[in-house]
């Protein structure tokens, strides 16, 4: 599914790299803990998060994540958008809470990594 289609499904506005809206997003992850994203999600794709700070974008950049969607109406600041612009990361924002946003995408065919954590 393209980033643009994801934005439509989530009622989201693409606020950085709208030029990449045709990029295919195959998988997604939802988390407000960047430690957990670093530990468990290495598949590129989309990160849904309610955590709005520069470290969110830096985490996405270091993990080669293609797109970040800020949920719950969170708005990224200009430093975050500048870093995303430089790193080629699509940024979108939606008013939806995390759970419905993830549910809508999952139901529409965007799957996450269902591998359980190492015990």
């Amino acid at each position: 599914m393209t980033a643009g289609k994801i934005a439509i499904l989530l009622g989201a506005e693409i606020v950085c790299h709208d030029d990449l809206r045709d990029k295919e997003i195959m998988t997604a992850c939802g988390s407000d803990m960047m430690s957990d994203v670093m530990a468990f999600y290495h598949d590129g794709g989309l990160l849904l998060t309610g955590l709005v700070n520069i470290q969110t974008v830096r985490t996405a950049s270091l993990l080669d994540i293609d797109a970040v969607c800020f949920v719950r109406g969170k708005i990224p600041n200009t430093d975050m958008l500048a870093l995303a612009q430089e790193a080629g990361i699509i940024i979108m924002q939606t008013a939806l809470p995390m759970f419905p946003a993830c549910g809508i995408l999952y139901q529409s065919g965007v799957k996450g990594n269902i591998q359980a954590a190492d015990k």
Partner: protein, 137 residues
């Protein structure tokens, strides 16, 4: 080749810039993407640890044809029980660090998971030195 960085303990927003720089340099050297990503993850976690636990420190990275060596050294409080600190989910991070998205207790386990060798030398009240190696060949 070697690279040295000072990791500021005062400015949380700059944490991770050294890892970003190393990632860029490894990409320029044509290092395989998986190794670049693992290096970036391991070093970023270490940088964040330095900022949230130890008021910053220094990072030294050496790259040769066989491996990448990362040495992270701080003069923070030290780790009283390394085995406990290695336990996934265990964290002593402050509430403010958690508010910033860190402190899930995955830092040290994730550093170990992403490196081929990791050694922690820590003395309470003196500081911590973490050495990580990633094989290129």
């Amino acid at each position: 080749m070697t690279f040295d960085y000072v990791v500021s303990g005062d400015d949380f927003s700059s944490a991770g810039t050294a890892s970003q720089d190393i990632k860029k340099r490894l990409q320029q050297l044509g290092i395989p993407v998986q190794i670049v990503r693992r290096t970036a993850i391991a070093m970023f976690e270490a940088e964040i640890n330095m900022v949230i636990h130890a008021h910053g420190g220094v990072a030294h990275v050496a790259i040769d044809e066989h491996k990448i060596t990362i040495i992270m050294e701080d003069h923070g409080p030290g780790i009283p029980d390394i085995e406990l600190a290695m336990q996934p989910g265990y964290s002593t991070a402050s509430e403010s660090a958690r508010d910033m998205g860190w402190g899930a207790g995955m830092g040290l386990p994730n550093m170990k998971k992403n490196s081929d060798f990791m050694k922690i030398d820590s003395t309470v009240g003196v500081g911590t030195r973490v050495t990580m190696e990633l094989n290129i060949t």
